[in-house]
Symmetry: C2
Subunit: 515 residues, 2 copies
C-alpha cells in the first residue's frame, strides 16, 4: 500500500471511492468548479411552516440511502440529530448517511440505529461513545470520514459531499426561515456551521423552538435557502455547550505548560500591537491566553483580533479593549453568547471564512500564533487529536488542522504524561496534523522547536527558555511510567482522517486488542 | 414576431442569444443549477494588495471581449467605472461588456469609450445620458439588457451573465479583501449589490481609499472571494448618493396623491401591528410614508419591518419605534449610513435576499404594501419606469418589478400630467412592470383599482375614497393638455427589458423622430 507524505499507508480507494493521499500541507491545487445546487423558486404567499418534523421528512422526500446534515452548536446538548434519526426509523427509512459537523456523548443512542441499519455511514467528528463504537469495528457500511471545520466546508462546496436534506437547529427563526443562534430560550451562539449546508443541500429544514415574527435578526441562515420551518418544543439544551475543560486550569503542571507557551510566544516577538491569535478553549490554552493578556496589559499593546471558539475569557478581553475584534464561529459558554448580542466587534463568521482551503484566503492564515492541544505528539512533530493511545477514536479534528496550517507560530501544549501514559511517541497512533505545520511543542519539561524553525529556537534560547528535544522529554517520561503499550489493530479501516484539502492524512483501523 | 403575455413583440433571438418572452409574473419554473465558479486557493503569507488598478487589470488578465462588473452604491458619485474603463482604454483593451448595477449622469464620459469600441455592450441600468445615447441607436454591438435588482442577482447566480472581473468600490477594506461601505471617508452605506459579483466572478478586485488593519468589520464582501486589493486616492463621492427627489414633496398635487395613497392603504386594513412595507425614496412615496407613520402613531401600531432604499425618514421611524427592523440594500442619504452603524435592527441585505426570483422566497414577498412610481401607466395597469413618453431610455428598473411582484398591495403613485404630457396612456411606451402585479394606481384625480382586486375596490369605496377608472382620468388629463405625441421608432432594438425571472417583457427601439 502506498505511503503518504507523513509515511502512513493509504489505500487507493475505499468503498469504491478513490482516495487521494496527503502530499503536504499546501500541495493540493484545487481543480474544477464549486458544486452547483439546483435552482428553485417560491411564489409570494406560499408558506414554509410545517406542523411536524415527520411532515417535513415526508415533504422533502427523505428516503433510503440519503445524506442528512446537522450542526453541532449545541455540542453535548444537541437534541435534533436523534430526533430526526428516530423519526426516520419510525417511518421505515434506512441506510442513511449522517453528515453532522460533530457528534457528542449525548448521541450514544445512535449506536442502536447504526446496529439496525437506519444509519450506515457517518461523515463527521465523533466525540466519545459513537467514535468508540466505530473503533470497535461497529457496523458502518463504509469507513467514517473525519474532516476539520474548514475541510467540511470545502467538501460541501466542491461537491465531495452532497447533502440531500440539511436539518438546522435554530434557537430563533421566523416563518420564512431566517434563523440565528443568538436569541431565544435555547440561544447557543453562532449556528454558522450550517451555512454551507443551507447553500448546497437539495432541501433545507429549519427547526426551532422560538418562532418569531419576520424578520428574525441577525440573519445567519437566509430565507432564500430554506424550504421548510418546523417548530418543536425544544431544539437543544444550551446547558450542554460548556463541556470539557472550559476554565483556566488550576493544575500546577498544566499551569507550567501554559506559562512556558506564553513565554515562548512573547520571546518570539509575537505579542505586539495589531497581532491576531486563536485562544482555544482547553484549560491550558485558556491559561496561556491569560498570561498573554497580562503581558499585553503590561506592555499596553492591543491585539487586532482573536478567533474563537469563544469563552467568557476572550469576551472579557474584547470588553477590556485588549482585543479589537472577535471572529466567532462557536460559543463555548453563555457569556460568549450574551456578548455576541451586545458588541458590534464580536462578529459571527462561517467555517468557510475561518478555514476553507479552497478560498482566496481564510482567517486562520492571518493568525500570528495559536495554542492547540493534542492526545499525542511524535518525534516528527506530528500531532494526534483523534485517537487515544489505546487506538480508540474519541475526538474530532475541530479547527486543529486549519489553525495549525495558518498560524505563523503554532504551539502545541501537552503534558508528557497523561493518565500514566506517555504522550510523546516515536510515531503518533493517528496523524491529524502534520509536523510541517507545527512549530513548538510545549510540555512541563520544556519546549521542543521544530527544526524547520531555527529562528524560533534562537529567540527562545536568547530568552533563556528551556529548549529541549522531543527525544529527551520522551525518555524522561518513559523512565517514570514506562513505554506505553500499543493497541493491536485489525485490517479493517473504520475511519479516514482527511487533511483539510480533502486528501487522506491517516486511517483509523479497528482495535482488536493490546500488544 | 410573436407577442409576449403583455402583448409586446419579442424577437426569438437577439445577438445570437435566444430570448425567452415574458409569460406571466410567476410562470417561469427555473430549471437546471446555479453557476459553478472555479475552485481557487491561496497559501498563508500570500498578499493581495497591489500598487495600482493597472497592475490589478494586468494580473487578472483582463482582455478584449471580457465582462467587468461594478456596483452603484455611490450612485451619481461613482468614480470607479470610468477609472477602470479609462485604464483599460490606455492598456489597449477593447470590446468590453460593462455589467454595472446602474449607471448615472456622472458616467456620461463613457459615451466616448463606446464610440471608440472600448465598451461595446452594456447590461445594467442606465440613468440619464448613457441611456439617451443608447436610445439614439448609439453604437452598442448588442442591445443593452436591463434587469431589476433581483433579476441581476438571478442572472449572475444562474450563469446567464458570467463576470470575468468584478471591481468593487469599497469605502473600507482590509488587506485581505474584507470590505464594507459603512465606514471611512467615502462611506456610502451597503455595498451588498456586489456580493453576487464577488461570489461568481472569475476574478475579484476590491478598490478602496480606506485600507484598515485586518479585520474590516462588518464584513459585506468576504476575503475568501477576493483576489486583489487596490488602494486609490478616492473611491467615490458620497455626495453623489442623494440624487433626485429624496425629500418629502411640497407640491400640492403630489401631496394630494400621497394622501390618497396612504388613505387607500389604510382603508385596505394594511396599517396594522406587524405589517411590512417598502417606503421608496421619491418625494410622493416619502410623503405617503409620512402620512402612514402619523396614522401608525395615532393607532399605536408598529411595523415589523420596512425595506429600503433607506432615507433619514425611515431611519427615524426605526429610532422612534414605529418600525421593528429595516432591511437595507441601499442608502439614500448620509443619515441612513450613520444609522446603519448604530442600530442592530438596521440590517444590511443583499439583492438576493431582497428580490431573487430563483430563491426559496425573498423579502419583497413579505411586504404588505409598497409605494412605487412610474413615468407612465396604461389602461392595463402596466407601468413604465424605463423610458419617457418621447421613447428615450432614461431610467433603470431598480427594485420596481421585485417589489410590485411581492407586495400584497402595490400602489403606483403618479400625477396624471407631467411636463404637460399625460401619463396615463392607452398603452405604455415600454412595459417594465405588468399590470397583473399592480393593484392601485393613485393620481391627483383619484384611485384606479385593478379589476383583479374587487376586494380592494370595495374597501376603498366603503372608506369614501374616489375610486375611478383609468379611462376617465386619462380623458380628463387629455382634455387639459391634449393627446401626447408619440415617438417614431426605428426597427433597431437598442435594449431588452427583462422581467425579474429572465424573460423579456419589452424591447426598446431606436428613436428616430416624432409622429
Amino acid at each position: 500500500m502506498p505511503r503518504n507524505a507523513v509515511g502512513r499507508e493509504i489505500p487507493g480507494e475505499v468503498g469504491g471511492r478513490p482516495v487521494r493521499p496527503f502530499q503536504g500541507a499546501f500541495a493540493t491545487v484545487p481543480e474544477g468548479r464549486k458544486a452547483a445546487p439546483p435552482l428553485k423558486t417560491l411564489r409570494p404567499g406560499e408558506g414554509k411552516v410545517l406542523p411536524s418534523l415527520e411532515e417535513a421528512i415526508r415533504r422533502v422526500g427523505l428516503s433510503d440511502g440519503m445524506t442528512i446534515s446537522f450542526h453541532h452548536a449545541f455540542r453535548d446538548g444537541d437534541l435534533l440529530v436523534l430526533r430526526v434519526v428516530e423519526t426516520c426509523a419510525r417511518l421505515g427509512i434506512k441506510d442513511l448517511r449522517l453528515f453532522p459537523t460533530a457528534l457528542f456523548p449525548c448521541h450514544e443512542p445512535l449506536i442502536r440505529y447504526i446496529e439496525e441499519g437506519v444509519v450506515t455511514r457517518i461523515e463527521g467528528s465523533m466525540n466519545g461513545p459513537v467514535g468508540a463504537f466505530v473503533s470497535r469495528g461497529g457496523k458502518l457500511r463504509e469507513p467514517a470520514v473525519l474532516r476539520s471545520h474548514g475541510g467540511r466546508w470545502r467538501a460541501i462546496e466542491c461537491g465531495e459531499v452532497h447533502i440531500d436534506v440539511a436539518f438546522i437547529a435554530a434557537p430563533t427563526a421566523d416563518p420564512y426561515g431566517n434563523a440565528n443562534g443568538m436569541w431565544g430560550p435555547s440561544a447557543c451562539g453562532p449556528i454558522s456551521f450550517a451555512v454551507a449546508d443551507s447553500w448546497y443541500a437539495d432541501h433545507v429544514v429549519v427547526v426551532t423552538d422560538n418562532l418569531v415574527p419576520y424578520p428574525a435578526l441577525p440573519i445567519e441562515i437566509e430565507q432564500g435557502y430554506v424550504d421548510h420551518v418546523v417548530t418543536v418544543d425544544r431544539v437543544g439544551d444550551p446547558g450542554g455547550i460548556a463541556t470539557g475543560t472550559l476554565r483556566i486550569t488550576r493544575s500546577p503542571t498544566q499551569l507550567r505548560i501554559a506559562k512556558l507557551a506564553a513565554d515562548a510566544v512573547i520571546a518570539a516577538g509575537l505579542v505586539r500591537e495589531g497581532m491576531g491569535f486563536q485562544a482555544g478553549a482547553g484549560g491550558i490554552s485558556l491559561a496561556a491566553t491569560d498570561f498573554i493578556a497580562k503581558e499585553m496589559a503590561r506592555r499596553g499593546v492591543r491585539a487586532a483580533f482573536a478567533i474563537g471558539g469563544v469563552t467568557m475569557y476572550l469576551a472579557d478581553m474584547l470588553k477590556e479593549g485588549l482585543v479589537g475584534a472577535i471572529l466567532d464561529g462557536q460559543a463555548f459558554d453563555a457569556r460568549a453568547v450574551e456578548f455576541l448580542r451586545e458588541h458590534p466587534r464580536h462578529q459571527i463568521i462561517t467555517p468557510g471564512f475561518y478555514a476553507d482551503y479552497n478560498s482566496r484566503g481564510c482567517a486562520t492564515y492571518m493568525l500570528d500564533f495559536a495554542f492547540l492541544g493534542g492526545t499525542e505528539v511524535d518525534l516528527d512533530f506530528n500531532v494526534n487529536v483523534n485517537t487515544h493511545s489505546d487506538g480508540q477514536l474519541l475526538h474530532g479534528i475541530g479547527g486543529h488542522q486549519d489553525v495549525a496550517a495558518g498560524a505563523k507560530v503554532t504551539v502545541i501544549t501537552i503534558p508528557t504524561i497523561r493518565g500514566r501514559i506517555p504522550t510523546i511517541r516515536e510515531s503518533v497512533t493517528t496523524v491529524t496534523t502534520p509536523g510541517e505545520v507545527v512549530d513548538l511543542i510545549v510540555t512541563e519539561r520544556g519546549i521542543a522547536v521544530n527544526p524547520r524553525r531555527p529562528d524560533l529556537a534562537e529567540d527562545l534560547r536568547r530568552a533563556g527558555l528551556p529548549v529541549r528535544s522531543l527525544e529527551e522529554m520522551r525518555a524522561e517520561a518513559e523512565r517514570l511510567v514506562g513505554v506505553a503499550k500499543k493497541p493491536v489493530f485489525g485490517d479493517e479501516i473504520v475511519a479516514l482522517i482527511q487533511w483539510r484539502d480533502g486528501t487522506v492524512i491517516d486511517v483509523v483501523r479497528k482495535v482488536v486488542g493490546w500488544e
